[in-house]
Amino acid sequence: MRHSHVGASVGVVIVAFAVAACSSAGTSSNNAADTVQVCADVSLSGAYAAVDVPVLAGLKATVKDVNAAGGLLGHQVALHYLDDHSDATRVPAIAQELFTKYKCLVVFANNSGTITGALVPFASRAKVISTSAVPTPALSVAKDYPYNFVLNATNPQQAAAFLAAAKRVGAKKVGLLYDNNTATTALMQTVRSALTSGGLDAVDAEGVDSTATNLTVQAVKLKNAGADTVIVQANPVLLLTAQRALASVNWAGVKIISSPNAVNAQTLGSVPSSIAANYYAMGYRGNLSSSVGGGIPQTFANSVASFGKVVNLNLSAQGHDYFAVVFWGAEQAKSLDPSKIAKVLESNGSKPLPNDTLYVEPSPPGYTSTEHSMAKADLSKYWSLLRPGKADQNGQFNGEPLTVG
């Protein structure tokens, strides 16, 4: 009797494990043999969901629009995606499924540094073009990852933007509060150097675990270091924790600049009132409502809306660009061969892409045969400074364009 009850409990555990192990997955309906397969590793829950959920909507909208316009080189496009639950340990299984089951032309390789860093080697080995916004320098080296292309500012470019934002808000002494993963730590070191070179005083830097739930001590340390401005580089969940901590330490007049990767309705809609007046979210130009400078085509917004409420049109437009740049390369190469597409992207140089190719990323991206980052792109009109408040119907916000350089 006792053994059967213990056995029953163990059985419950096994069933629970089996059910919990099933990832979310999705695929579009085109699965004919001549269909072009495109893939995505997205975080639909967990710390990175706030970023990837709208990105996925953009990927879907892009595939829909391409198919409606006749497909890619005459082939319909099918999207396959898997949810990694913001957990990099799931990447090997996801890579196994995506790259062996489907012959992906391109994979959106997530926007988390940890997950992208885990997926890109698999994609490169499988000769699948990967795109993401993770600007880790090692992943941009063409010799090591010939099929990985980054659509995001490099660390020095982001640092220049943070410097411009800090000067714009009148900062003199700046403290840094950030997620201490490898990629963000490297970025913050670059930001710190840029602040110092730009004549500001970087007084303190506090790296915290991405799952930290109490940042009171870090907030007090930054306050006691004499900072008048705090730059917070964190995922959306950690940013919410940081907002609560900074609001709780009676820090009158502190200016806060949060990072572009954490712009969403929750982080900007729930800024504590005690810090809202001096709270700025550094974002992209696409985060701005069209009434204050945002320029994403309404036709694309309508296409995203066909998949549900538009949560963050800028992120969806980034999703569009992750695929659009590869589709453009394929059309230029008149081929679906990843090597030929990569060659086109590398050799485009300073020639701008057609206006309707990229919605929010700079054109040209500036890839070279040795470097697949946007180091050579012109990002001076890429940024914005957003203010707390409710998002509009497209998930965009009030604010102003931020010109850098």
Binding site: H5, S45, G46, A49, E206, V237, L240, T241
Partner: protein, 309 residues
């Protein structure tokens, strides 16, 4: 950092650590209660903390119910969860008190199974997302001597101290408490005196469930509600119980506060990720030097002498 600033940073860390440590203490208190009553390490206890925090998110944050009503519902839910833990993982195994070795092997497996199953159900229901919950007291910190004191930490500490005093008073002064202590001390003797030991154990599970659920409610404005809460809480709650001493309610309080303060103080000087390492190094050190914990009573694990586990 100037010495004045360092002092205020340390004091701010201590106040936040006392607050979060209170929640660990409530979990440790529940673990101690169950261990003292039945000799069982209830590994599913931290799941009830998770349940309490998610229930608070639903009732208080989403439905905007008054906080006291949410407390009552969450407490009732915790009691039910305690009963479920008892019947689901322990009750059907528990034939007679005192078969400590066999009971422990089986209940380690069953309570672990319950913990994993509950976590999986919560993840399937809520995903791995994090749900912020607004504070139930003012979030404006009061500046005392340059140290920002957040009201929520004070409330957490006071509530926990009141609960410990209540439990101690009940077990030492009331008739029912006397029967409880009889069970803790000598369950066979208590049976012979007509005390239903199984009922006492069942009630212990229910009370422990209430404590864990209230712990989840109290801390959720600080941690937000997420399925990952249970993991860290479980580890620190166990450390609170072990450091404070098995079978001691005051020990669970002190142990919880020690764990909370260490967790908060580590980032003042060191990398924040060293906090769990330091807590467990302290735990090992305490158990090596004083196996029954700081305030535990005599016995292999400091519980009553008949509860050798």
């Amino acid at each position: 950092m100037s010495s004045g600033n360092q002092v205020s940073t340390i004091l701010a860390a201590i106040t936040s650590g006392l607050g979060t440590g209170s929640a660990y203490a409530l979990l440790g208190l529940g673990l101690t209660l169950i261990l003292a009553a039945s000799g069982v390490f209830n590994l599913a206890q931290s799941s009830v903390v998770l349940g309490g925090s998610l229930a608070t998110y639903g009732l208080y944050q989403i439905l905007h119910w008054p906080i006291l009503l949410a407390v009552a519902i969450v407490a009732a839910g915790g009691a039910i969860a305690g009963f479920v833990s008892y019947w689901g993982a322990v009750g059907f195994i528990f034939k007679r008190p005192g078969i400590a070795a066999e009971l422990t092997e089986a209940t380690l497996v069953t309570t672990l199974g319950l913990y994993l199953a509950f976590g999986s159900i919560m993840t399937l229901s809520f995903g791995a997302d994090v749900y912020p919950v607004r504070s139930y007291v003012s979030s404006e910190a009061h500046d005392i001597g340059g140290v920002p004191i957040q009201p929520i930490y004070v409330v957490m500490l006071v509530v926990t101290i009141v609960i410990v005093i209540a439990i101690e008073t009940f077990t030492r002064r009331s008739k029912a408490g006397l029967f409880l202590r009889m069970t803790f001390e000598d369950s066979e003797g208590a049976e012979m005196q007509g005390v239903s030991v199984r009922r006492v154990i069942m009630i212990s599970f229910a009370v422990a469930g209430v404590l864990a659920a209230i712990g989840g409610l109290m801390i959720v404005p600080v941690t937000s509600a997420s399925t990952s809460v249970a993991d860290s809480f479980g580890l620190y709650g166990f450390a609170a119980m072990a450091i404070g001493g098995y079978g001691s309610f005051v020990g669970a309080l002190i142990g919880g506060l020690i764990v909370g303060v260490i967790e908060a103080l580590v980032p003042v000087w060191f990398n924040v990720q060293l906090a769990p390492l330091i807590v467990y190094a302290l735990l090992i050190g305490v158990l090596v030097i004083r196996p029954r914990g700081l305030f535990g009573r005599a016995g292999a694990f400091g519980a009553s002498s008949l509860r050798e586990v």
